[in-house]
């Protein structure tokens, strides 16, 4: 019987290796896989490349991972935040590489990796500093920049409900990067509020089919509001 449930977040991230590229879900606090991220900090793998919309803030989650010196590179769209001090300190010290990507290009590069697209032309950032050094092309009446997929070793995401096959639903805007990140990693791990019996998720409403999910972990804390 297929059962993708893993007992603990620690067990779910136990094979994250030094040098891994990790897609980390979430926008704001919505969709942040907080327990998996904590487990990742505890795991202590080094030289990680992290892909997230932001670069961590405060002292928890991604910021803690950066603070612990586990991160070599961040690929994100918006690292600047009032309390992004862990990122800022290491970035200014030259200890942390930053690849700044427009948010939609970030999403599309992740989606391209999951969908087997080798590269794509996007109009975003054409004529700006973020397109410097990149191949461009005029197609029809628009100018485009060539962008490459972002493949990853692991994706850590937060979903709402799962079943043992790994089918997922999300909660409102906590969906954000989760469904595309799930497609782009060799090993996708989802922390979820609830694991329901097979067949209880309406097949019309499955957002991420289980084919993209290797491991599910039920969170221990109560969801912030359901």
């Amino acid at each position: 019987m297929i059962d993708k449930t893993i007992a603990t977040a620690a067990a779910a991230v136990a094979d994250v290796h030094d040098g891994a590229t990790i897609l980390l879900g979430g926008f704001g606090t919505a969709g942040l896989p907080t327990e998996l991220t904590d487990a990742l900090v505890a795991r202590g793998a080094r030289e990680l490349t992290i892909v997230n919309n932001n670069a961590g803030n405060g002292d928890t989650g991604l910021a803690a991972l950066i603070g612990a010196g586990c991160v070599k590179k961040i690929i994100c769209s918006f690292p600047r935040q009032a309390d992004a001090w862990h990122f800022e300190k290491r970035y200014r010290a030259g200890e942390l590489e930053l690849e700044l990507v427009p948010q939609g290009t970030l999403a599309e590069r992740i989606r391209a990796a999951g969908a087997g697209v080798g590269a794509f032309f996007t109009p975003t950032a054409y004529g700006t500093d973020l397109a410097k050094g990149k191949e461009t092309r005029r197609i029809g009446e628009r100018d485009y920049v060539l962008e490459m997929p972002i493949h990853a070793d692991f994706a850590l995401i937060k979903a709402h409900r799962a079943d043992r096959w790994g089918n997922l639903t999300f909660r409102m805007t906590a969906r954000n990067f989760g469904p595309i990140m799930a497609t782009a990693a060799r090993c996708t791990i989802a922390e979820v509020d609830e694991i329901v019996p097979l067949g209880q998720i309406d097949p019309e409403s499955v957002v991420t089919p289980g084919i993209f999910v290797k491991r599910i972990v039920r969170v221990r804390h109560a969801p912030q509001s359901v």
Partner: protein, 218 residues
């Protein structure tokens, strides 16, 4: 002469959004537009983090931070709203399905170039978010900003000196002094604050202005 305040600017902009339009409102001043959509007019608000049909702010104490806008503020969802993931959300933007996006700006050039993501300062942490996607994507890229910097310089310029967010993308600029339509043959003033002679506006804006045929006369 009295400048338009932030709410007046937002109301002036909101007036120009037709029923049924799909609109993305940027963080800050543009967010105010939502409060000024004329009563009874259905406008569907998009936020790039994956939601269409944003409603008013939730009552205090009823915030659910799984339902937020791009500014990470708690919002509500109208009947008819929907959720989708980031690739679909930016597909909507890049694919030119939004009728309007309303953005803030450091500078707008008369050819429509937009600078709103980076001051170019060497030590600044760069951060772009969805600005570049919105700049190339929306059918109408609208800027809302004060016309002048604190130092009194026009932010409507011949050519942007700050790094670009997008090239030739801005259609219209709503400021505290006037509304500017950027057309191929120049900058047309659609409206300006009462009591200010057009010539004074011209002096402040510096870039050459034309009166739109449909503009009110001062």
């Amino acid at each position: 002469m009295k400048k338009w305040d932030r709410n007046q600017m937002a109301a002036r902009m909101a007036r120009d959004i037709p029923e049924g339009a799909y609109v993305n409102l940027g963080i800050g001043l543009p967010t105010l537009v939502a409060d000024h959509i004329p009563a009874g007019r259905e406008v569907i608000l998009h936020s790039e983090n994956g939601v269409l049909g944003i409603g008013p702010k939730p009552p205090k104490g009823e915030e659910d931070y799984d339902l937020i806008n791009a500014g990470k503020e708690a919002v509500t969802l109208l009947a008819g709203g929907s959720f989708f993931h980031h690739a679909d959300s930016f597909g909507m933007i890049r694919g030119q399905h939004l009728d309007f996006c309303v953005l803030g700006a450091f500078q707008v050039a008369i050819n429509g170039d937009l600078a709103n993501w980076h001051t170019g300062a060497a030590d600044a942490i760069p951060a772009v978010g969805g600005a570049m996607d919105l700049a190339v994507g929306a059918k109408n890229v609208i800027v809302m900003m004060e016309l002048l910097t604190k130092a009194g310089e026009s932010k409507l310029v011949e050519r942007c000196t700050y790094p670009l967010t997008g090239a030739r993308c801005v259609n219209r600029v709503y400021t505290d002094l006037a509304v500017f339509d950027l057309r191929k043959d120049g900058v047309y003033v659609l409206d300006w604050v009462e009591g200010m002679p057009f010539e004074e506006l011209q002096q402040l804006a510096v870039v050459p202005l034309k009166r739109a045929a449909e503009a009110r006369t001062a």
